[in-house]
């Protein structure tokens, strides 16, 4: 593990690019559809691509389209975007514990590219994350999203119906592919994921919370509860500062 330090940035960057391939594939159908929907909503190609470039957040971009179509005011759209994306605060705080120390400039730049997907891939990597890796991972995902949105707008169509349908599983399959190997490592992770899934299902099904908050609250509840239970179990035993 120590010799990671000797590997240069180029290889780390490449590793990040490779790790992002599943994300890039998964973004294609969503980005194409976004471009298509943006066109039907009445955005120009410039606005469509610019939104993908500047916002880079799938769920909230989709949401903004339906709000625009409804004639919602700008402030409300921005506020909704904020609420939908507040969960990334939690993700960044978690990733911050895992990345190597680097200049603020680099951290600020790659933090721009943190999405549910890039976070999931990065956070389930073992060991410290290098700046090069983060750049590679986020860049390939970003490129897929921006280019996909543009192409979707221009060709005015998504993928063929059947492929579009079956590709809608891609990002979820990726999440599952990232989660399962970790679940094999211990019951704790099974509990963490299971609890959060249950909480989130309850919150969204009952409509108590909007989907943006539901994910945040479900994640936090599960992470805190499991940590408390672990702390209680450790009491009595000698803690080894793990």
């Amino acid at each position: 593990m120590e010799n990671i330090l000797s590997i240069n940035r180029g290889t780390e960057f490449k590793k990040g690019l490779q790790a992002g391939i599943s994300i890039a594939i998964g973004y294609v159908p969503i980005a194409l559809t976004f471009g298509l929907l943006a066109k039907t909503t009445g955005l120009s190609i410039g606005e469509t691509v610019m939104m993908s470039m500047i916002v880079f957040a799938g769920a909230s971009q989709y949401m903004s389209l339906s709000l625009i179509a409804l004639g919602t005011g700008i402030i409300e759209i921005i506020l909704t975007t904020f609420i939908v994306n507040i969960r990334h605060f939690l993700m960044s705080a978690s990733l911050n514990e895992k990345v190597e120390l680097d200049r603020v400039f680099n951290r600020v730049i790659y933090s721009f590219g943190i999405t549910d997907e890039t976070f999931s891939v990065a956070a389930t990597q073992s060991g410290k994350l290098t700046t090069g890796y983060m750049y590679g991972l986020n860049l390939i995902s970003y490129a897929s999203w921006v280019i996909g949105s543009g192409i979707g707008f221009i060709i005015g169509a998504g993928l063929p119906e059947t492929l579009q349908q079956s590709m809608s599983i891609a990002l979820y399959a990726m999440f599952i592919g990232l989660l399962v190997p970790s679940m094999k490592q211990g019951v704790k992770i099974v509990f963490l994921a299971g609890l959060a899934a249950c909480f989130n299902t309850v919150f969204t099904m009952t409509g108590w919370l909007s989907s943006g908050w539901a994910i945040v609250v479900a994640t936090l509840l599960s992470a805190v509860l499991v940590e408390l239970i672990e702390g209680m179990k450790k009491k009595g035993q000698v803690t080894d500062g793990e």
Partner: protein
């Protein structure tokens, strides 16, 4: 509007990297943050995966397929491709 949306998206993503830079957080909080990725994955998958198509079986079959392929130890890309392939087969027949 787009710039406003970009700003409110970027700020939560960026703040922790500046606020907590090189700081040692209390152990309990560190533990919670280490738990976050797995909890997030659980919440990201359920219940959203059930609603990817109107036909709820689509999500169920896709998720199951992904789970089995991943459980067998396959690489993430293989999991993604496998799930897509199985769903393509499913939509051909149903």
């Amino acid at each position: 509007m787009i710039i406003g949306m970009g700003a409110v998206t970027f700020i939560p993503r960026m703040l922790p990297f500046i606020m907590f830079r090189g700081k040692e957080l209390p152990p309990f909080l560190q533990g919670v943050l280490k738990n976050v990725p797995y909890a997030t994955l659980g919440a990201l998958i359920f219940p959203a995966v059930l609603y990817i198509q109107e036909d709820i079986w689509y999500g169920v079959i896709g998720a199951l397929a992904a789970f089995i392929i991943a459980f067998l130890g396959a690489n993430v890309i293989v999991v993604v491709m496998g799930a897509i392939a199985i769903l393509s087969a499913y939509s051909l027949f149903f």
